[in-house]
Each structure stands twice: as structure tokens, then as C-alpha cells.
């Protein structure tokens, strides 16, 4: 398989037609191939999440990670941008804005010359919640929620997310198959939250697949954190590849190529 990729910082048109920074990693295969919008975690538009995007490109997909804090600190280092967003009260980023950024990122991917038009979304931690948010808000072909909190939970009084209806109430609007990856020792989301989300998806007849890993808590995919659990992470990545292979690639030969890389 031809495995060249091009990874670079670009500008995309996001929410409210504003231009924001994004990290694009795309396969140089002629295609057609699917695309993945990658949503970073709360600490920001960081190297670790950029590695997710490059992994997808190396596996034969296009990927783009919007910088969700670009508006608060254009051109700043990712951790400084996160701090600026906090200081300005922009964390959590409003849901409406997240949906707009994902829509813009998806449009960018669909516009690539080697795109097959199929778009997935994946996010970890706060990005996991935002992945679910995008999947109940936008027409997509696949979604992956990696241990996103506050999908089912109602945030307590005083919490910045307090007052918004729990996202699970919008499960009926899910536009695409959802893969959920969770740590059985995580409390946010807890196994009870995961079970409640699963019940909602089942009640609405949605296509989903959940995996919860014993011995893993929150952020078990983070290779440079003490929360990293290699056994769970390796299995989770296999499911991610299978999910995107199934729903974002058009033909059996494309899927066999992605499998050959992973």
C-alpha cells in the first residue's frame, strides 16, 4: 500500500464562517478514502492528539484536528491557548461553537480531491463528549466516543455545564453508528453512565458498539500519562480501525488496505 502522508497546519472555515487553525494529516493515496475529524481533549490542541490524526493518515484515511481554542489565542502554543481560553471563560467551549467547528472540519475533508465523502468523528476525554455532540447534531457516517464525560450525567449546580439538558436526551438524533470506548474504573463516565447511554441507544434502535476495559480508568489511550493502559489501548485501537474501515471506506479493497496497515 502506498503510505505517504502530508501533515501540516492549515486554516479551515469553522463556526460562524470564521477561519480557525487546524492540523491536517492526509493520505496521499489517490483514493477515494474517508475522513476523520479528530477532537482534542481539554488540555488542548496538542502533540498527542496530532499523533491520532497522523495515525489515521498513515492508515489510509484523511484526518483533521480543529484547534478548539484558536479563537481565544491565535498562534499561541497549545497549552497557552488552553490557559487563555480558561482565563477568558471560554472553557467549556459552547456546544454550538463545537458543532460549527466540526461542520467546518467535515466540509474541509469532503472537499479533498481524494475524498469519498464519508466523514467520521473521534474525540477523547472532553472530545469524547464533543464527538457524541457532533454525531447527534450533524450528518456523519461514523463516530467514536473515547470516555467522554457529561454525556449522561447532569452536571451539579455551579458547574459550567449545569443547566443544559444531558446530551443522552438527544440520542434519537444520532446520525451514524457509534463506537464507545470506556474504562471500567472510570467514574466520569462510570459504568452506570455507560449502561444508561447504551440503553438510550438501544431504545432508539441505533447502531452502536461499546467496549469497557477492566483495569482501565479515564484516559487509558494517553500513551504519556500514568492512566495509559497498553492492553486496553491496543484493543481499543483495533476497534477504532475496524469501525472506520467499516463505515468510512467504500469498498472491500479499501478496507483490506486499512487492515493491512493496522
Amino acid at each position: 500500500m502506498y503510505d505517504a502522508i502530508l501533515a501540516e497546519s492549515i486554516t479551515i472555515t469553522g463556526h460562524d464562517s470564521d477561519e480557525i487553525e487546524a492540523y491536517s494529516a492526509r493520505t496521499l493515496q489517490a483514493g477515494p478514502v474517508g475522513g476523520v475529524v479528530v477532537l482534542h481533549h481539554l488540555p488542548g490542541y496538542d502533540r498527542q492528539t496530532a499523533e491520532f490524526a497522523r495515525a489515521f493518515a498513515a492508515g489510509g484515511l484523511n484526518a483533521v484536528m480543529p484547534n478548539l481554542y484558536h479563537r481565544e489565542a491565535p498562534g499561541a502554543a497549545p497549552d497557552d491557548a488552553m490557559a487563555a481560553a480558561r482565563a477568558s471563560g471560554a472553557i467549556p467551549v459552547p456546544d454550538e461553537r463545537i458543532v460549527g467547528e466540526v461542520a467546518g472540519a467535515a466540509a474541509y475533508l469532503r472537499g479533498l480531491s481524494n475524498s469519498n465523502g464519508k466523514i467520521g468523528v473521534i474525540g477523547h476525554c472532553s472530545g469524547g463528549r464533543q464527538s457524541f455532540l457532533a454525531a447527534v447534531s450533524l450528518p456523519l457516517e461514523a463516530a467514536v466516543d473515547c470516555y467522554g464525560g457529561f454525556v449522561v450525567e447532569t452536571p451539579p449546580e455551579g458547574h459550567p455545564l449545569h443547566g443544559s439538558p444531558a446530551l443522552v436526551e438527544r440520542a434519537g438524533n444520532l446520525s451514524c453508528p457509534l463506537l464507545g470506548l470506556f474504562g471500567a474504573e472510570d467514574q466520569h463516565p462510570s459504568p452506570e453512565h455507560v449502561a444508561e447511554l447504551e440503553a438510550a441507544l438501544k431504545a432508539h434502535g441505533k447502531t452502536y458498539e461499546f467496549h469497557s476495559y477492566d483495569g482501565a480508568g479515564h484516559a487509558f489511550l494517553q500513551v504519556d500519562r500514568p492512566s495509559y493502559r497498553p492492553e486496553a489501548a491496543v484493543d481499543a485501537w483495533q476497534h477504532i480501525w475496524a469501525w472506520f474501515g467499516r463505515y468510512l471506506l467504500s469498498s472491500g479493497s479499501e478496507r483490506s488496505q486499512i487492515c493491512a496497515r493496522t
Partner: protein, 87 residues
């Protein structure tokens, strides 16, 4: 989980970072995922001068235990300052 919670406080003083001393006017205090410290959640403080841009920041990420110890030490030393020095 991400707590999303942030306490903001106006401060007056200086902090030293890689580029030297900066004036700081604001601090963000939050218990959330760190960028660098090897813990799932840490007590994080950003000492900021927003007027000088996002990079005018001195940041610390402390384990919960060390954050409590630091807070206790700050309170103790402020309480023990000789009368008349704190205005």
C-alpha cells in the same frame, strides 16, 4: 474526567518564566487534567498578564497533596508575618 471548573482571581505581582520576569495581573486556579505533571488531575495555577498575550504565563501543576501543603504554607507564612508588614 474534565472538571471544566476554574476559579479566577485578580492578583498583583510578578512571576519569572523562561523569558524573564513578567508582571502578573490575573490567576486561573483549577483542578483538572495537567499538560505535563504525571497525575490524572492536578491543581493548576496560571499566573497571567493577559495584556501581554497568551504566552505571558507562568504555570504550575501540583498534585493534590502538594497543592494542599502549599496552600497551608502560604497561609502559615502570611499569618506569621510581623505586624505592620502586610498592608
Amino acid at each position: 474526567m474534565c472538571t471544566y471548573l476554574t476559579e479566577k482571581v485578580s492578583i498583583s505581582g510578578s512571576a519569572k518564566g523562561p523569558t524573564g520576569w513578567i508582571r502578573v495581573t490575573d490567576a486561573s486556579v483549577y483542578f483538572d487534567h495537567p499538560v505535563h505533571a504525571q497525575a490524572e488531575h492536578t491543581l493548576n495555577i496560571d499566573f497571567l498578564d493577559p495584556a501581554a498575550g497568551p504566552s505571558a504565563r507562568v504555570a504550575v501543576e501540583l498534585t493534590a497533596e502538594s497543592a494542599r501543603a502549599l496552600a497551608k504554607a502560604i497561609q502559615a507564612i502570611m499569618d506569621s508575618a510581623p505586624p505592620g508588614l502586610i498592608t
